[in-house]
């Protein structure tokens, strides 16, 4: 499409640079945040969507100031909830269907 919005990184010409050198472009779908938070105790977080959303989670390790990287915990998602397995798991839920 020949319309939209795009913003390049510093030092790149927005008219000619590669897509990878853009900060954003309306040509590509962006993850839109539905909800964020910390789940204590572990358990279900109702996301209010009608589909299984993309979600990111990060959980604390035994050393409470250390958190896992994305994908390194046992949180599961379905069309109603994401369900965390560890207390104080931080979550990010997006308006984007995963499955």
């Amino acid at each position: 499409m020949n319309y939209g919005i795009k913003i390049s990184q510093p030092g790149f010409d927005v008219k000619t640079c590669d897509d990878k050198d853009l900060v954003m472009s309306s040509k590509f779908n962006l993850l839109k945040t539905k909800a964020t938070g910390v789940k204590t105790p572990a358990g279900a977080v109702a996301h209010g969507l009608s589909y299984v959303p993309i979600f990111f989670t990060t959980r604390p390790f035994f050393t409470a100031t250390h958190f896992s990287l994305i994908g390194d915990d046992f949180t599961a998602g379905d069309a109603t909830n994401i369900t965390t397995a560890v207390n104080n798991t931080r979550y990010y839920i997006f308006y984007q269907q995963a499955i």
């Binding site: 499409m1 939209g4 919005i5 990878k20 954003m24 309306s26 040509k27 590509f28 779908n29 962006l30 993850l31 839109k32 945040t33 539905k34 964020t36 938070g37 910390v38 990111f56 989670t57 990060t58 390790f61 035994f62 050393t63 100031t65 250390h66 958190f67 896992s68 990287l69 994305i70 994908g71 390194d72 931080r90 979550y91 990010y92 308006y95 984007q96 269907q97």
Partner: protein, 140 residues
């Protein structure tokens, strides 16, 4: 949110839609932002000695614990990149691969200062491991 902002729909959707999935971008909703990734968007490498471990430390420069996404070519040269910090290679890639610590106090983690990534090399030869990370300017 007040009645102002920027929004762009996907093709064939009307700009008056109230369904968030109909938008490529909508300033009414937040979005994760990449705060840091390897220089020149080129993967990093780390040498791991035979039977040893090696740790990469990345100062993220943020004032909070960020979300971090990591990809590693666990078996050098395989071309297979695995996501996460406690991942296990597919059986076809286990031979000749590094591993990551997945215990309750993992050696791969993020805190309010750094991302620490520790690889173990159970093989009999030194390995040079490729990895790539995205540090998001968001903290969940």
């Amino acid at each position: 949110m007040a009645n102002y902002g920027v929004k762009v729909t996907i093709d064939n959707k009307d700009i008056s839609s109230t369904e968030p999935r109909d938008y490529v971008f909508n300033s009414a909703y937040g979005s994760v932002k990449v705060a840091k990734e390897p220089a020149n968007k080129t993967h990093e490498t780390i040498d791991v000695s035979a039977g040893g471990t090696a740790t990469a430390t990345i100062a993220h420069g943020l004032s909070f614990v960020p979300l971090v996404m990591l990809f590693t070519e666990l078996k050098p040269g395989s071309g297979h990149w695995y996501q996460g910090g406690i991942n296990v290679a597919d059986p076809t890639d286990i031979s000749g691969a590094v591993t990551l610590d997945g215990t309750s106090d993992s050696l791969t983690y993020v805190d309010s200062t750094n991302v620490k990534i520790t690889y173990s090399n159970p093989t009999g030869g030194a390995l040079t491991v490729k990895y790539y990370y995205f540090i998001f300017g968001d903290n969940g």
